[in-house]
Subunit: 164 residues, 2 copies
Amino acid sequence: MSREVALTREEREARAQVEGLGIDVDAFAAVSNVFRVANAVRNYMERNLLAEYRLSFSGFTVLWVLWVWGPKESNVLAEESGISKSTLTGVVKTLEGLGFAARRPHAADGRRVLVEATDKGLAAVREIFPRFNALEGEITRDLTTEEREELARALRVMLHTVGG
Amino acid sequence: MSREVALTREEREARAQVEGLGIDVDAFAAVSNVFRVANAVRNYMERNLLAEYRLSFSGFTVLWVLWVWGPKESNVLAEESGISKSTLTGVVKTLEGLGFAARRPHAADGRRVLVEATDKGLAAVREIFPRFNALEGEITRDLTTEEREELARALRVMLHTVGG
DNA sequence: ATCCTATCGTCAGGGACCGAACGATATCAA
DNA sequence: TTGATATCGTTCGGTCCCTGACGATAGGAT
């Protein structure tokens, strides 16, 4: 059923080297390819799209979350963006410098801070996201719709297992 | 054929928000789940295994490459490890501080530098890698062997497309 | 009213990460 | 031999990223 796809040189050589060590080759291939793809795609997006807006991948992610869900407490925003609270502090600072986001004190709780996208930030995401998605389409163009769904499903299972 | 797997809350809500924007939902789901899994697994590995050796994910990757292929020029080592030359300089410096790697000048070319793992570094990888692989098995335990192969294959296709 | 404890966002310190610029070395042409 | 050009690893400036510690605020119990 599954079409032939050549292993990358790295993968081929790596397998040869760790053979006979009682290694779970399937798990190894699956997981390490997740990292390879994530790395490659992240760099690709940053270089070919995000750099134009002086946005890092994380910066865009945070802005995207703000666009989709509206203003959020730092706490939640960090969780939703997949980074730590302290990292978010820095990222939001950068976003503020670019005029893409702003901080607002919580009305009732003096400890909390609300982060929101500015109009300029919203405009940027509206411009970037369709292009971002188009690149996602490009990147997966050699997979059928069913294969993409299967891929997403398998990743979802892993996410569930590892507790993401 | 494919078992039901619930979408994560994030994924469900995100879909609802970007509906009707002409978005390629399958590509979106596939790519963003790659990032989610990579992030979650990277953190998991660093916290539950690598921290014990004071190794970052990149530090371990570099050491692993050195273990599998032997001494390498900085140039090639960076490429093979998926990081830039300048990042490698820093990572190797850290590895040297831990006593896991060493620099050696190239015999014929004064510009080049060879990086190699020390005995201590080699011993560490031999200890870590089987545990690392065991965690990879854990993480993919709810996928069948065929599903793991399909996952690796799909990712390989993407890697080929994006030119990794 | 005053502790005790929980939770908030930030800062400090250290490492990872990149692109651009740099000094050193190599190579090839004239 | 000298000069132009290419390539090597490092440095620099800026951002990301984490853990751990911190001051501030909140809220419950006494």
